[in-house]
């Protein structure tokens, strides 16, 4: 089975994250880049499926040069090889154009199963899996906390507000995972040493037949109109319960248009 895991490098949540003042995109140089946490679960799941069913795990990353750190981490965990989609034209792509660029690349490299984290800690749109499925014409099985493969079929347990759904589909398919699915392994010493020798293929937009007019900050469908630093938290309102606490609370929430 040919499994592709899409991983993303995100700014370390422990450091301060900033937007650039010129084009209002994320300032990826300002913070340390780390692998998006949910992507680690995706890599782990891919490795477990490979261990159970055989095959190969390819890591796919779209990101600037320094995203090689994240690729190396996934390879050190045990993935077999990687594809790094990197091109200045891709800078500032929004979710929609990212899904286009990744879909084009996935068509090139081929897959039986694509696994993603359900969202990234920086943009948090959580839409990529669905967009990829649509573009590739494959089933989408999102928010999985359990994945099973049998023959050409795939079954996942999809987390919902009321419990879970059991969703079945046939391969090839796109799966996004939540953190309850597993406990990601640590890269081992051996893995870290071996990662250096694994193949990392670099794709530019031409290699993946990506149309430059559909990607990048200039062609994004969404735009950051403006941004400001969050104002410091103001003092809260204390409701003193003198028998009418419920009413006062409700009045307050209504005044803020919460109810």
């Amino acid at each position: 089975m040919n499994i592709v895991v899409c991983v993303k490098q995100v700014p370390d949540t422990a450091t301060e994250r900033k937007l650039r003042s010129d084009d209002k995109t994320l300032d990826r140089d300002a913070a340390d880049g780390v692998i998006n946490e949910l992507c680690e679960y995706a890599v782990e799941e891919a490795l477990r499926l490979k261990e159970a069913h055989g095959g190969e795990v390819t890591v796919l990353t779209m990101g600037p040069d320094k995203a090689t750190d994240t690729i190396r981490k996934a390879l050190a965990m045990g993935a077999d090889k990687a594809v790094h989609l990197v091109d200045p034209a891709l800078h500032g792509s929004d979710a929609l154009s990212t899904s286009y660029a990744l879909a084009q690349t996935l068509k090139k490299i081929g897959f039986d199963l694509v696994i993603l984290g359900s969202e990234s800690t920086d943009a948090r749109t959580g839409m990529l899996a669905a967009m990829l499925a649509e573009r590739l014409g494959t089933p989408q099985l999102t928010l999985a906390n359990k994945v099973e493969i049998s023959g050409a079929g795939i079954t996942v347990q999809r987390v919902t507000d009321y419990g879970f759904d059991k969703v079945e589909a046939s391969l090839p398919a796109i799966v996004s995972v939540v953190e309850k699915i597993n406990e990601p392994r640590y890269p081992s010493f051996k893995g870290i040493m071996a990662a250096k020798k694994k193949q990392v293929q670099t794709f530019g937009i031409a290699d993946a037949e990506i149309d430059a007019a559909q990607v990048g900050v200039a062609n994004a469908w969404s735009e950051v109109a403006d941004f400001a630093v969050a104002p410091p938290r103001a003092a809260g309102t204390v409701v003193k319960d003198e028998g009418d606490g419920g009413v006062k609370t409700a009045d307050y929430l209504a005044s803020k248009k919460f109810i």
């Binding site: 750190d69 190396r72 890269p187 893995g191």
Partner: protein
């Protein structure tokens, strides 16, 4: 000159960091509340077993004992990470360096079980009358037929109350220059111990009593008369690690101080808006950074096979003092909270004080440094001058 870590060093550090973040930091609150000096042994061993699965095992141990014999610099990077938490933890698979000098039978009986965590040893050199001046030890081992009979007292011995065997340096020939010998002495052979309550909760040392303790000739570690040589050859090998430890603790304390300075408000503004607090933070970072390079440089000297005693002494002297100052400032910035047992600061404040005493006091490090310079053994500025 390139001040970057290699990719490999960074990846190893990141794995150690992830382990500390995921496995140890979440234990901190309960650990502090428990007031315990260490994790329960079972818990520590299961954490070590978990780390072993991804190869963090026997960092300093030679490969033929299942270890990785990692470069000193890589080990230092890992120690910096582990020192960030007040939960005492070390990756498993290691033994006192001196045990690598054991013969085949002793390795079977002491080294291997120690590496596997089934036995716990301690290293006993210091005595009530001999600390810095180790040559003044009085504990004696007297030949009696095929056996040796040991008499005397050892004190301030780390793990001394828990250990099931001790590596004891004793005088075997009072008149000879090389008159001391190392022995492997099981607790079953009859020595006893009492813990010494100390200022910090780490390293809980103990006093060891030897009263006519009889051991067979096979318990001599190395050669008769080679006790000090053995001790010197092996012990200094791990000393750079202490400096790394200081760096890790200081880094965490400074992080806490910065966060708190940005959070705590007095007189209508963040305490970090006051120059008094800013300067404490600036001084701490500068000293921490200097300490980091001294620590890593000492490790680098070890790795390139140079005589590292001088740079290790410099690193230990500076790092152990630095961490005391940084913890002190971090505690000050936290005010009353810093003094409370809810945070690790007060514990570190007490614990790090020991670092200026064991493995050679500040003064002994200075003695080494000045002697090297005054006698022309080293050049000012070392390899860069």
């Amino acid at each position: 000159m390139d001040f970057q870590l290699t990719d490999e060093q960074r990846d190893i550090r990141d794995t150690a960091r992830a382990f500390v973040t995921r496995e140890l930091l979440p234990l901190e609150e309960d650990f502090l509340r428990s007031g315990a000096a260490r994790l329960p042994r079972e818990q520590e061993r299961s954490l070590q077993a978990k780390a072993r699965k991804f190869g963090f095992w026997g960092m300093s141990a030679p490969e033929r004992y299942g270890g990785m014999a990692l470069p000193a610099l890589t080990q230092s990077l890992i120690h910096i990470e582990v020192a960030r938490t007040c939960v005492p933890f070390r990756f498993g698979g290691e033994a006192d360096n001196i045990l690598y000098g054991a013969d085949a039978a002793q390795q079977e009986e002491y080294l291997l079980p120690t590496i596997e965590g089934r036995r716990l040893g301690c290293f006993a050199l210091t005595e009530p009358g001999a600390g810095s001046d180790a040559a003044a030890i009085r504990t004696s081992a007297r030949r009696d037929g095929a056996d040796w009979v040991i008499n005397g007292q050892k004190t301030f011995i780390s793990n001394g109350d828990d250990a099931d065997y001790a590596i004891v340096i004793a005088v075997t020939d009072r008149d000879a220059r090389h008159g001391s010998t190392a022995f492997l002495v099981d607790r079953d052979a009859g020595w006893t111990s009492t813990p010494i309550p100390t200022m910090g909760s780490w390293h809980q040392p103990a006093t060891l009593f030897f009263d006519q303790v009889r051991v067979p000739a096979g318990k001599v570690l190395g050669d008769v008369g080679a006790g000090f040589d053995l001790a010197k050859r092996w012990i200094g090998k791990g000393r750079h690690v202490i400096s790394a430890h200081c760096v890790g603790i200081a880094e965490r304390c400074l992080r806490m101080a910065v966060d708190y300075a940005n959070l705590r408000e007095t007189f209508g503004r963040k305490i970090g808006a006051n120059q008094a607090v800013q300067w404490m933070i600036a001084d701490s970072e500068t000293e921490l950074e200097a300490a980091r390079w001294l620590a890593l440089r000492a490790a680098w000297d070890v790795d390139r096979g140079a005589d590292a005693r001088h740079s290790v002494a410099m690193a230990k002297l500076f790092c152990c003092q630095m961490v005391g100052r940084v913890v002190d400032r971090a505690l000050q910035i936290h005010g009353g909270m810093g003094y409370s047992k809810e945070l690790p600061l007060e514990g570190w404040y007490r614990a790090v004080r020991a670092m200026r005493i064991f493995e050679g006091t500040d003064e002994i490090q200075r003695l080494i440094l000045s002697r090297d310079l005054l006698r022309g053994f080293t050049r000012i500025g070392g390899h860069l001058a």
